[in-house]
């Protein structure tokens, strides 16, 4: 178990979501949810299938626009995020069912994560000369660091569509890290992995948090992983928030136990 350091618990709020509701036609995906993510913490979001976890991530990075509520990120409050603004502001993410650029190599995929950081005009890039070359070299260096960190050197030139699932997830994490995000959203980073892969991935998540100080919000189904990694846990069920607290608090919560195990009628 990872002891929530008092520093983190008292930390500054990086992102807060207030009274957000989201519906698709008659389906209410999120109902009046409020929570916050503090700087430097690992925040888990759990709940049974269809609880609205992924929808919540989509609201945070602007894929979905909620009908009600507000989102405050780095002190700036708005009613809805836009994906471009979210990326610009330093929110990176991975996807539940891996969204990579399948036709490109692992290296190129991770390089796309630098899109927002490359400023030289494309004429310079075509010429591969002067400032653009220096820029490209600098970005390549950062990307190589990430590749080393994630231990995917052997597959850097491989077209990602051909990689096994576990490695694809790692490349996807690499792409998100290349953005040097302040907030990293991970949607089921360990889904479909075997034990060894899960352990690797857990280690990467912890290292990212420790070394780069990146704030992480992750959705995960493996309770062992959640309890080990996270500082605080948000529990959703049927789009509602049913608990929010440290792993220990959440584990002992009556509502959570009912949601997961069912209520005796």
């Amino acid at each position: 178990m990872r002891a929530p350091s008092s520093e983190v618990l008292a930390g500054q709020v990086l992102l807060s979501v207030e009274n957000v509701s989201l519906s698709f036609g008659g389906v209410k995906a999120i109902r009046d949810v409020s929570f916050d993510i503090r700087k430097g913490e690992i925040r888990a979001i759990i709940g049974p299938n269809g609880a609205g976890k992924t929808s919540l991530l989509n609201v945070i990075n602007g894929f979905y626009q909620p009908q009600e509520g507000r989102i405050t990120f780095r002190g700036e409050t708005r009613e809805k995020m836009r994906p471009y603004a979210a990326a610009r502001g330093g929110i990176a993410r991975t996807f539940q069912n891996v969204a990579l650029f399948k036709g490109m190599s692992a290296l190129d995929n991770i390089m796309t994560g630098r899109s927002l950081k490359m400023n030289r005009g494309f004429v310079w890039q075509l010429l591969r000369h002067g400032p653009a070359l220096a820029e490209e070299v600098e970005h390549r260096r950062r990307v190589e660091e990430i590749i080393d960190f994630l231990e995917i050197n052997a597959i850097r030139r491989v077209q990602v569509g051909r990689l096994p699932y576990g490695l694809q997830k790692r490349v996807e994490l690499g792409r998100a890290l290349a953005m040097e995000p302040d907030l990293l959203l991970l949607d089921e980073p360990m889904a479909g992995m075997n034990l060894e892969e899960k352990e690797d991935m857990s280690r990467f998540v912890l290292d990212v948090n420790n070394h780069y100080g990146t704030t992480i919000a992750l959705i995960e189904h493996d309770m062992g992983v959640v309890m080990d990694l996270s500082n605080r846990v948000l529990v959703l069920d049927y789009g509602r928030k049913i608990a929010d607290g440290t792993p220990d608090e959440v584990k002992a919560d009556r509502n959570v136990i009912d949601a997961y195990l069912g209520v005796a009628h």
Binding site: F63, A99, G103, D108, S115, F122, L126, R175
Partner: protein
């Protein structure tokens, strides 16, 4: 028996006895094919980046050519007119993104396809209003495009190569090479490929779809200018030329909708096949074979490779 002989033996006997004619036919097919490729290229660019089959590519070709000729007609020097035509195509790309694509984002592809139909008829009407309906002559000389032909003595006869055709082939090759470098080597090219692969992943790394769309439509506009000049120089510039958009269809089926090399190879196969068919088999069926032969070739290919020669392989999990 006689018919079978005429179909399966006689054309090849003719090819053998008059090889110079065969070379001439192949060359003409190649050149026609290059022009088909250029049109198909415009389609592929837009299809790759946005999944939209842009029916308006044909009218964009005409519109670009008309703009160029009309600007020159106003007394503007040829190369200034060319630069202005580039500006017009950029404005068109921007307008299309703002007024057509952006309001329809996340709509099914068929809606966007229909929107390009609307765009086609808008551009025809708007173009006829501005440029007038009568055919115009391309300002080939003023743009220093060569004229005349080389007559090469070979294989016991003469093969005549039009200089404008050679120029078209060279320019088309250069443009394809430039596009390939642009797609492979630049950040924007990488972003384009990214958008083609997955919209939401591209959004998540902060690639701006709007910007990318303007760029691809502008690229397709540049291709349209080049196509318009080359095609216009061989015949004349008129609105009915927009129907060449339909000629790109068999090329795309053959080459695959997402492949730039596919557009080139597909165009050449269709061009050469059409000319050979017309010259050697056409007389058997009466004339008019070239209006449908391309579709037949494409259909035959569809039976064996539904994804096209270079298209991405369709693997379906069942």
């Amino acid at each position: 028996m006689d018919l079978l002989y005429q179909i399966f033996i006689d054309p090849f006997v003719q090819m053998g006895t008059a090889p110079d004619l065969l070379v001439q036919t192949l060359w003409e097919g190649l050149v026609g094919g290059v022009l088909y490729s250029l049109i198909a290229l415009g389609f592929v660019l837009i299809f790759k980046a946005s999944g939209v089959f842009n029916f308006a590519q044909g009218i964009m070709v005409v519109f670009a050519a008309m703009s160029l000729v009309s600007l020159y007609g106003l007394g503007i020097p040829a190369f200034v007119a060319l630069a202005l035509t580039f500006a017009i195509m950029l404005a068109l790309a921007w307008g299309v993104e703002r007024l057509v694509l952006r309001p329809l984002v996340n709509q099914p592809d068929i809606i966007l396809f229909m929107a390009t139909f609307g765009l086609t008829y808008f551009l025809i009407g708007f173009g006829e209003l501005v440029f007038g309906g009568e055919p115009k002559v391309m300002i080939a000389d003023q743009l220093f495009l060569p004229r005349g032909a080389y007559d090469i003595k070979m294989l016991g006869g003469f093969v005549s190569l039009q200089k404008i055709d050679i120029a078209a082939t060279v320019i088309a090759s250069l443009m394809v090479a430039a596009l390939a470098v642009f797609f492979q080597k630049t950040r924007i090219g990488r972003a384009l490929r990214a958008v083609a692969d997955s919209h939401r992943a591209a959004l998540s790394v902060g690639i701006s779809l709007e910007q990318i769309w303007v760029i691809v439509w502008f690229a397709a506009g540049i291709v349209a200018i080049v196509t318009g000049i080359m095609w216009g120089a061989r015949s004349q510039v008129e609105f009915s030329l927009q129907i060449i958009a339909l000629k790109a269809l068999p090329v795309l089926i053959l080459g695959g909708f997402t492949s730039i090399p596919g557009a080139i190879v597909g165009g050449v196969i269709i061009g050469v096949g059409e000319k050979l068919g017309e010259f050697y088999w056409g007389p058997l069926l009466g004339s008019g074979i070239e209006s449908w032969l391309a579709y037949m070739i494409a259909l035959a290919f569809l039976l064996f490779r539904p994804q096209g020669l270079f298209g991405e392989k369709i693997i379906e999990r069942v």
